[in-house]
Amino acid sequence: MAVVPLRRMTKGQKGIIHRVTASGEIGRRLLDMGLVPGTPFQVQGRAPLKDPVAIRIRSFTLMLRNSESDFIEAEVEEVS
C-alpha cells in the first residue's frame, strides 16, 4: 500500500481515505460528506478540462476541485 494525494489518482482507481489534511470550512465539509479515514472510494472521472474530479464514495458521487483534492491523502495499491 502507498499513500498518494487524490490529485495523482487516475480514473477508475480505487483507494481508501488515509487522511484529510485541511481544517476550517473545507476540512469540515469534506468530513461532513463522509471523507473520514478508512472510507473506501473510487475515482469516477474528471471533467473535460481535467478539473474538477468526481469520486464515488458511500454510494454517492462527489465532485471536488483539484485544489481541494490536494487535502486528501489516499491509500492505494502500489502504483505500477
Partner: protein
C-alpha cells in the same frame, strides 16, 4: 394541551433527498414562500391537517450538516433552537443511508424529537437494497417510516406519527455518543461546567454546547462570549488543550475526530440486520452510463451547448406568443384609456405611466414562467450539476462558479435573452460571493431589449457587415462580463472561492407537479414584489419626461401652426394634410421632451458625455432606457422629432441617423458600448435588490454606468485620435 393549537413540524434533510417533493406532496398548493428575516435564504411553510389537527410544516434548507459555515445550515440550526418545533421530520435517502444519517445524528444530539422518513425506498429496492425500517427505528429509538415522495406513498403514516410525536410534548432528550478517549473526558468536564453555570441550558443541551466549543463553532463561541465571557474563555482553553494534544499525538484535530466517531456510530447502527444487499441492477449504474456520454470529454461539451441552447429556445420560443398576447392586451387597454379619458396629464399618467409600467412588468411573466420551468427541469433531473462540473474550470478563472453559466446565457449570453430571469436564475448557486459576482455581471449580456437598439444603429452605420458586428457584440459582452466579474472578485468581493464539493446526484425524472409548483412560486414572488416597485418607478419616469409642460407661449406657436395648416388645408390632399399636422405634433413632442426635467438633465449631462460624443438627444434616450432598454428607440425618435415610433418601426430613425453629419460609425459604436454596459433596466435592478440588498442594486446602477462611461469614452476618444471620427 389544546388540540386546536397549530403543531409546528420542521422538515430537515440533505440536498437531493426528495425533501421538496415530499413537502409538495403533503401540502400541495397550501404553501407560502418567504425569506428568513434579513437574509435571502428561502423559507417555505405549508399547512395540512391530520385527524382534525392543524399542522404547520416548515421546510428547512437542504443541508448535509449543522455547522456555522454556511448560511443555510445556520438558518436551519437557529430555527430549530429558537422556534423549537414540536418535532422534526428528517427525510433520508434510503440508497444513501450513511451520509444522510450523519445529519440525523446531529439533530438527535440537539435533543429535538425526530422521526425519520426513509425516502425513495422504491429506488433503494431497485438497487437491491432492503432496509429493515423497524430495526433501524428500534436502534435509533425513534419512528422510522418508509416513504416514496414522488407518489406520496407513506405520507399519511408519516404525518400521523409526526402529529403523535408533536403532541407528546416531549422533553428534549439529546443523544449521547462516545467520541473516544481523547474527547470524552474533556467533554464531560465542559458539560459539568456548562451545567453548573446554566450556560444556555434553557434552550440547549449542555453537551451540545461543549461539542460546539470543541468544533470551534464561531457562532456559538461568539454568543457564549456575550453571555458569560469568563466561562466562555475557560471552555475555549479546554478545547485548545485537546486540540494541541490531538495535534501532537494523532496529527489530527477535534472536528476530524468528532466526524470520525459520528460515522463510526452510523456504521455500528447499520451493522447486521438493518441493510440487506442483493446484487441487482444499480440505479447508479444507469446514471454512470448516462454520464459516460453527457460528461464525456468530447461529446459532453457539445451536448451541453445543445441542451442549454434547447432550454433557451424553449424559453424564448414558447413565451413569445403569451408575451405578444399580453402586449396586445395592454396596448388595447392603452387605446381604450386613450379614447375614453379626457386629454390632460391624468390621461397621460394612466396611459404612459401606469398601463405601460404595469404592462412592462407583466410582459416578463410568461418569460419567467418558461425560464423557471426549463431551469427547474434541468436542476431536478440532476443535469445542472453536470453543467457546473464541466464548466467550473473556466468560470473559476474569473472568480465565478460552474453554475454561473445558466444566468449568463439566460441574460442574453446568446443574444436576445433577458436579465430579469437571468438574475433570478442565480438562485441555483449556493456560494454567496460567486453568486453576487454572477448576478452583478449578468446584466452586461445583450438582452432582447438591447438587441433592437443595436440592430437600428448597425443598420444605420454598419449595414455592410450586420451579422459580423452583431456577433462581435456578443463576444464583447461575454468578455466584459467575465473580466468585470474578475475585477469585482479581486476587489470588493475579494476572497477565496467557496469550497466546490457538489454532489452529482443520480439522474431522476422530476414530477410535473413539482416543476409547476417550483415555477409558479418564483413567478408569483416576482409579480408581487417587483410589480409594486416597478409601477412606482415607471410613474416617476413618466413624470420626468412630461414635466414641466411647455410654457403657454410656445404651445401657442404649435397651435397656430396647426391652425394655419388646417385653414389652408382645403386645397391640399387629405394624406398630405395629416402628414403636415403630424410633423407639427412631432416638433411639439420634441420641444416638450427637451423642456422636461429629463430633457434638462440630458442637456446638463452633455458637459460630461461630450467625451463620448453624446448630445442631449442621446442622453435623454439613455435616461429613458433605464426604465426599459427598448424605450431608447422611441425616445430617440421623439428627440429627433420623428414622432412616436413603435418597436419594429425604426427605419425612419435609422435613415435619419445615417444621414446626420454629426453621426459617425465611431459615435454609433461608442453608443452601442455604452448601452451594452450601463445601468440595468429597473426591472433588473429590482430583481438584483430582491436577490441581494438594495445596496447592491444601487452599486450595480452606479458602477455599471461609470464603467460604461469610461469604456465608451475611451473607445470614442481613442477612435477620434486615430482619425476614425
Amino acid at each position: 394541551m389544546n388540540p386546536h393549537r397549530e403543531t409546528m413540524i420542521a422538515l430537515a434533510g440533505n440536498p437531493n433527498c426528495g425533501k421538496t417533493t415530499l413537502f409538495n406532496a403533503i401540502t400541495g398548493a397550501r404553501q407560502h414562500v418567504g425569506n428568513y428575516p434579513g437574509i435571502t435564504v428561502e423559507k417555505k411553510e405549508g399547512y395540512c391537517q391530520v385527524n382534525g389537527r392543524h399542522i404547520q410544516l416548515v421546510d428547512l434548507p437542504g443541508t448535509y450538516s449543522l455547522t456555522a459555515y454556511s448560511l443555510e445550515e445556520l438558518v436551519a440550526r437557529n430555527f430549530l433552537i429558537q422556534d423549537r418545533p414540536s418535532a422534526v421530520i428528517n427525510i433520508v435517502d434510503s440508497s444513501n443511508l450513511e451520509r444522510n444519517l450523519y445529519l440525523t445524528i446531529q439533530l438527535l444530539e440537539l435533543g429535538i424529537p425526530v422521526l425519520v422518513a426513509l425516502n425513495m425506498v422504491d429506488m433503494a429496492a431497485a438497487r437491491g437494497l432492503a432496509i429493515n425500517s423497524e430495526e433501524l427505528g428500534r436502534r435509533l429509538r425513534l419512528p422510522v417510516i418508509p416513504t416514496v415522495a414522488r407518489t406520496g406513498k407513506g405520507k399519511e403514516a408519516l404525518l400521523e406519527a409526526a402529529a403523535q410525536l408533536g403532541q407528546e410534548d416531549a422533553v428534549w432528550e439529546p443523544l449521547h455518543i462516545s467520541y473516544g478517549p481523547d474527547i470524552d473526558p474533556v467533554l464531560d468536564t465542559m458539560e459539568a461546567q456548562i451545567r453548573a453555570a446554566a450556560f444556555f441550558t434553557d434552550s440547549l443541551p449542555a453537551r451540545w454546547t461543549a461539542l460546539k466549543y470543541l468544533e470551534a463553532d464561531e457562532e456559538v463561541i461568539r454568543k457564549g462570549k456575550e453571555k458569560n465571557p469568563v466561562l466562555s474563555s475557560k471552555l475555549i482553553e479546554l478545547a485548545e488543550q485537546v486540540t494541541q494534544h490531538l495535534q501532537k499525538t494523532l496529527d489530527s484535530y477535534p472536528e476530524a475526530i468528532i466526524a470520525d466517531h459520528r460515522y463510526g456510530f452510523i456504521a455500528a447502527l447499520l451493522k447486521e440486520g438493518v441493510v440487506k444487499h442483493s446484487h441487482k441492477a444499480d440505479r447508479l449504474y444507469l446514471t454512470d452510463q448516462i454520464d459516460r456520454v453527457l460528461t464525456n470529454r468530447f461529446l459532453g461539451p457539445i451536448l451541453m451547448m445543445l441542451i442549454i441552447f434547447a432550454a433557451y429556445k424553449f424559453t424564448f420560443t414558447y413565451s413569445k406568443a403569451p408575451v405578444a398576447w399580453l402586449e396586445a392586451g395592454f396596448s388595447a387597454l392603452g387605446r381604450f384609456a386613450d379614447s375614453s379619458l379626457p386629454p390632460g396629464p391624468l390621461k397621460s399618467l394612466i396611459v404612459s405611466g401606469v398601463i405601460d409600467g404595469v404592462g412592462g412588468v407583466l410582459g416578463f411573466v410568461p418569460l419567467i414562467l418558461f425560464m423557471f420551468f426549463a431551469i427547474a427541469f434541468l436542476e431536478d433531473t440532476g443535469y445542472l450539476a453536470r453543467v457546473a462540473y464541466m464548466l467550473d474550470r473556466i468560470f473559476r478563472t474569473f472568480g465565478l462558479h460552474g453554475s454561473s453559466v445558466m444566468a449568463y446565457i439566460i441574460s442574453g449570453g446568446i443574444a436576445g435573452g433577458c436579465a430579469v430571469p437571468g438574475v433570478l436564475a442565480t438562485r441555483t448557486l449556493r456560494s454567496s460571493r460567486e453568486r453576487l459576482a454572477t448576478l452583478l455581471t449578468a446584466p452586461f449580456m445583450n438582452c432582447g431589449a438591447k438587441v433592437p437598439v443595436f440592430a437600428m444603429l448597425i443598420a444605420a452605420f454598419f449595414s455592410a457587415k450586420q451579422a459580423q458586428v452583431m456577433f462581435l457584440l456578443t463576444i464583447l459582452s461575454w468578455a466584459a462580463a467575465l473580466l468585470i466579474a474578475k475585477l469585482i472578485r479581486s476587489t470588493i468581493l475579494r476572497g477565496p472561492s467557496t469550497p466546490f464539493l457538489l454532489e452529482l446526484p443520480p439522474y431522476r425524472m422530476p414530477t410535473f407537479k413539482g416543476l409547476l409548483i417550483h415555477t409558479w412560486e418564483r413567478a408569483w414572488q416576482y409579480i408581487r414584489k417587483a410589480g409594486t416597485i416597478i409601477l412606482a418607478i415607471s410613474i416617476i419616469f413618466w413624470a420626468l419626461m412630461s414635466f414641466p409642460a411647455l410654457p403657454e407661449t410656445e404651445k401657442k406657436i404649435y397651435d397656430e401652426a396647426r391652425a394655419s395648416i388646417l385653414a389652408g388645408g382645403e386645397a391640399t390632399q387629405g394624406a398630405g394634410l395629416t402628414a403636415r399636422l403630424q410633423a407639427v405634433d412631432s416638433e411639439e413632442a420634441q420641444a416638450t421632451l427637451k423642456n422636461s426635467i429629463a430633457g434638462r438633465i440630458g442637456s446638463g449631462l452633455t458637459v460630461i458625455t461630450a467625451a463620448n460624443g453624446f448630445d442631449w438627444r442621446i442622453n435623454v434616450a439613455l435616461l429613458s432606457g433605464i426604465a426599459a432598454k427598448e424605450v431608447i428607440i422611441s425616445t430617440m425618435g421623439t428627440a429627433y422629432s420623428l414622432g412616436q415610433s413603435r418597436r419594429g418601426e425604426d427605419t425612419p430613425l435609422s435613415n435619419r441617423l445615417a444621414a446626420d453629419v454629426s453621426w459617425s460609425p465611431l459615435k454609433a459604436f461608442s453608443l452601442i458600448i455604452f448601452i451594452m454596459l450601463y445601468a440595468p433596466c429597473m426591472a433588473t435592478i429590482t430583481c438584483i435588490i430582491r436577490e441581494s440588498t438594495w445596496k447592491w442594486g444601487l452599486f450595480s446602477f452606479t458602477f455599471n454606468t461609470v464603467t460604461a462611461f469610461i469604456i465608451s469614452a475611451l473607445v470614442y476618444r481613442g477612435g477620434v485620435w486615430l482619425g476614425l471620427g
